[in-house]
């Protein structure tokens, strides 16, 4: 896979510098340790949302830093969780006196590093709540796995949790709300091509021209099963079916339907996929109250898509609609 890149080791720092250069009004950055904070941080008296994870999922998380969403994001190396020192410094930079909620995607590495970071922040006298996002139904949540992975739903947790923090809700309330979003959301993804980690130089797995990988994560990990490439409408069924069953979503549930691109799939295909996904949701009696289509939680240049369904309540809808001003997600202001 060819990339627009200098030294692979420098890619993440260069992208973070580019983000700062492109959005001076929205974000500030530090390179050692590496973090991105909203330009007006710390916002005193308000809870601050901190997230992060391996790089390669852009715009997640750095593109979601700004008013109404994340106060800080800590980008690790590509597909590698950030380290505790990053969260410690970012946390100090954004703490406004009302505590910090760490949004953590459920991967062993992320969990361990954010746990250690929470210990370090508490040692600084900062109250910290960790929220684990584990929405990927492709992974069975059992004693025999590291648990479900955190994927597309992360965006909704950060948007709704960020709006709650902006609205002045307390630490426990914001964390509780984020956990409610996690409890009501499910996702599943498919890959048509693998992606290539820059420093690795070759694809993380190989797919034949007529194959697709069902139930992939967002780190180029292989998925749940390899199947024949199917038409878009069938792919929508293969993704939404398990999602709806898992929660389960039921008739008259009001939902957010989020069709997400993995990075290499163009918008024209995502909208065609959304069309069928909305049709299926309607056929199940779900009321699609809010929608999002685009490449927001990606896996480098991987071709593929994921679908996220979130059961909404009035409070979530109000907070989803609240103003957000970030590099990648913006409305209401």
């Amino acid at each position: 896979m060819k990339k627009i890149i200098n030294d692979p080791e420098a890619l993440v720092d260069e992208a973070v510098e580019g983000l700062a250069a492109a959005h001076p009004d929205l974000v500030r950055i530090s390179l050692c340790p590496r973090y991105i904070v909203r330009a007006d941080a710390p916002v005193s008296g308000k809870v601050a949302l901190l997230s992060g994870g391996g790089s390669g999922h852009e715009p997640l998380h750095g593109g979601f830093v700004g008013r109404g969403m994340l106060a800080a994001a800590c980008p690790g190396a590509v597909f590698t969780s950030p380290t505790p020192d990053q969260m410690l410094e970012a946390g100090k930079a954004i703490h406004g006196g009302a505590g910090i909620v760490q949004i953590v995607k459920n991967y062993t590495g992320d969990v361990m590093n954010f746990d250690m970071a929470a210990d370090l922040l508490r040692a600084e006298g900062i109250e910290v709540e960790n929220v684990l996002v584990d929405d990927d139904v492709a992974v069975k949540d059992s004693l025999y796995t590291a648990g479900r992975r955190g994927v597309g739903l992360t965006l909704a947790v950060e948007k709704i949790g960020g709006a709650a923090a902006e609205a002045g809700m307390g630490l426990a309330e914001v964390a509780g709300l984020c956990r409610r979003v996690v409890a009501n959301g499910r996702s599943m993804g498919v890959a048509l091509t693998a992606c290539t980690v820059p420093h690795a130089g070759k694809p993380s797995f190989a797919l034949a021209e007529d194959e697709m990988e069902l139930g992939i994560g967002i780190h180029g990990e292989p998925g749940r099963e390899r199947v024949k490439l199917e038409p878009a409408d069938r792919i929508a069924e293969l993704l939404l079916g398990p999602i709806i069953e898992d929660l389960p979503f039921e008739r008259d549930d009001r939902v957010l339907l989020f069709v997400n691109g993995m990075g290499g799939t163009p918008l024209i295909e995502l909208y065609a996929l959304y069309r069928k996904a909305a049709e299926i949701a309607a056929a199940h009696g779900l009321e699609v109250e809010r929608r999002l289509v685009g490449s927001y939680v990606t896996s480098l240049e991987m071709a593929g898509a994921s679908i996220t369904l979130l059961r909404l309540d009035d409070e979530m809808i109000r907070l989803w609609d609240a103003p957000v001003v970030t590099p990648a997600l913006r409305w209401g202001a």
Partner: protein, 211 residues
């Protein structure tokens, strides 16, 4: 042949480990590709290169200080699952080493045992879960059974035990870490972390064998 692990021996070990990890970088990442995310070698090489640089800059006083300094560097440079885990290993080992100018076979057996305990506590992995624990656990037991033997021989035995544990991960189905997402499909691949654990203990054995 060293009789005990003094500060210089620990420094020599970590330096050799950095060399070996740099040399094995591609292979370790390659192991991580089919059952993980293909970055283990890069993570480890990056971390130990930083350890080497750090230790070259400031020369800590004793084994405990060296182990602790290395742990903090790994914590902030490796990331992923292996970063906190190896950092914990060295941190716990440092605790056991505190106050000792040099470590006998028995001392090191206690250090490594403490390190493994720390990893298990943080990672909740049991033997057979297809993780670094599968290489470290037999190494700890081999060492404990040789508490009174000469250092070089004991470390060689523990490295060999790690090698066997590493090889034994191939048929296992992963229950922890990224590989566990694959379920049955994780069988048939050697665990990258178990492999790097063996590499580290092998480097220590060689360090001790050198005069």
């Amino acid at each position: 042949m060293r009789e005990a692990l003094d500060r210089d021996a620990i420094l020599a070990w970590l330096a050799l480990a950095a060399d070996r990890l740099e040399a094995e970088k591609a292979n370790l990442s390659e192991l991580d590709r089919p059952i993980g995310d293909g970055d283990h070698g890069v993570n480890m090489a990056r971390g130990f290169a930083a350890v080497r640089a750090k230790l070259a800059a400031e020369q800590p006083a004793d084994p405990a200080a060296v182990l602790k300094a290395a742990a903090m560097v790994l914590l902030s440079t490796v990331g992923g699952a292996s970063g906190p885990l190896y950092a914990t290993l060295l941190l716990q080992a440092a605790g056991k080493a505190t106050g000792k100018p040099s470590l006998s076979t028995a001392d090191w057996a206690d250090c490594l045992a403490a390190g493994l305990a720390g990893i298990v506590q943080r990672g909740k992995a049991a033997v057979g879960d297809k993780t670094m624990v599968d290489a470290l656990d037999p190494a700890v037991r081999a060492l404990d059974a040789r508490r009174d033997q000469p250092l070089a021989a004991a470390l060689a035995a523990s490295a060999e035990a790690a090698r066997e544990g590493m090889a034994a991960t191939v048929p296992l189905v992963a229950r922890k870490g990224r590989a566990s997402y694959l379920g049955e499909r994780s069988a048939g691949h050697q665990d990258p972390g178990a492999t790097s654990s063996h590499l580290l203990l092998q480097a220590l054995a060689e360090t001790a064998a050198r005069s």
